[in-house]
């Protein structure tokens, strides 16, 4: 056989072996890093610059891609800035601050730090602002507000965000003190049922923090009873027969059903409770 052909075959084998070894070394290094706890999760220690850039840019790319199909209404016509400010004051001020107003301690120790919105509210398209407010940002302190502020309220908030960077500290103060009657609107309907949306709701109300729920990725927790195969259970909280109506009643008002229960009142609106109850009763069928 010609010498060249033998050499090529050896070369290919050498490269392949080298690749496998590298992968193995990399995986082992990753496992060692994970198990040793060497990777810091403290909010006090800053990222490597490259990590920070990747995360920051990654957020922008992801938001841009996912917010593409959001149709922005005519904010001047449909969005009430007073309502938007009411929402901002109730839900956003604590972490993001406002012109001349410091964020509360809650917003001061976080990594990533909640942005002071003067720049991003000015620069980001309205659709992107809406998306981030509605869907939140995972692995950060930014919650999703989809199930706690109505869609109209979210657009009003976006309209306020667009107006806020143009306010001086005094203008903001005057605006805030005169805006005493507007309320941040909660959702009143739930939209069409789907298992995906029901799961989002269950997570948004933090149900999976105390209960194991079928189909959801979350902590293995024993604080509350497992809700897997809930359909088969006969009683809710040992007090009410397990029917869909009673389950809704329980979710909406646990203390009213069983005083002193450790299940808190999460201010669940009834349309959400109905979809979550439907999911829990159906899961496993």
């Amino acid at each position: 056989m010609p010498a060249g052909k033998i050499a090529n075959r050896h070369k290919a084998l050498f490269i392949a072996t080298g690749a496998v070894v590298l992968v193995v070394i990399g995986a082992t290094a990753g496992v060692v890093l994970l198990l040793s706890g060497a990777f810091s999760t403290a909010a006090t220690k800053q990222h490597f610059r490259i990590t920070y850039r990747i995360l920051e840019q990654g957020l922008k790319y992801s938001v841009a891609s996912n917010a593409d199909d959001i149709v922005v209404p005519d904010l001047d016509r449909v969005a009430d800035i007073d309502v938007g400010h009411a929402c901002y004051r109730e839900h956003c001020l604590q972490c993001h601050g406002a012109p001349g107003v410091a964020r509360e301690p809650l917003g001061r120790g976080q990594l990533p730090s909640p942005s002071s919105l003067a720049e991003s509210a000015r620069d980001w398209p309205a659709a992107h602002l809406f998306y981030v407010t509605q869907q939140g940002v995972r692995m950060s302190g930014m919650p999703a507000w989809e199930y706690r502020i109505s869609e109209q309220g979210l657009w009003a908030t976006v309209a306020f965000l667009k107006a806020m960077p143009r306010m001086t500290a005094d203008e903001y103060k005057r605006f805030a003190s005169s805006n005493t009657h507007a309320q941040c609107p909660r959702p009143t309907t739930a939209g069409e049922y789907s298992t995906e949306r029901a799961q989002i709701m269950l997570r948004q109300y933090a149900c999976d923090n105390c209960h194991i729920i079928a189909g959801m990725v979350g902590p293995i927790t024993h604080i509350g009873p497992s809700l897997v195969d809930w359909r088969e259970r006969k009683y809710i909280a040992g007090v009410l027969p397990n029917t869909r109506e009673n389950l809704v009643r329980w979710i909406v008002d646990p203390q009213g059903v069983s005083p002193h229960t450790l299940m808190p009142d999460l201010e669940v609106i009834e349309p959400h409770a109905e979809q979550m109850a439907r999911y829990l009763m159906a899961a496993g069928e």
Binding site: Y235, G238, H260, T261
Partner: protein, 111 residues
């Protein structure tokens, strides 16, 4: 004898019922047919769905959704649940105090 369930976490000890014998407790749970309402691992014919399943009982921070899950509380609950939670479906079970301790001891060992 408390068998540590696999995921006890950072080695914190599981609840112990002083004076309770887990092996006798399993017999107690069978004798009083607690399984009519509860799924209990290791107890024959225990597949009821009226009350919650009692598996991994030691890992639960709370008892009956109202009380911290502690041995003495569990013993009291087994003997007279309605006195602690007037609306509960679980009736007071006429068993001796020792039987209740044994049953509680078994529950804390069940996987």
């Amino acid at each position: 004898m408390v068998m540590l369930a696999g995921c006890a976490g950072d080695g914190e000890s599981l609840p112990r019922v002083s004076g309770g014998d887990a092996e006798r407790g399993r017999v107690v749970l069978d004798r009083y047919q607690c399984g009519v309402c509860h799924v209990i691992p290791g107890v024959p014919s225990a597949f009821g769905k009226v009350g919650p399943a009692l598996d991994q009982y030691a890992q639960r921070p709370y008892l009956a959704g109202k009380f911290p899950n502690e041995p003495e509380t569990l013993v009291r609950w087994i003997l007279d649940a309605p006195s602690m939670a007037p609306q509960t479906a679980m009736p007071a079970i006429a068993m001796s105090h020792q039987d209740a301790r044994d049953a509680a001891a078994y529950l804390y060992t069940s996987d």
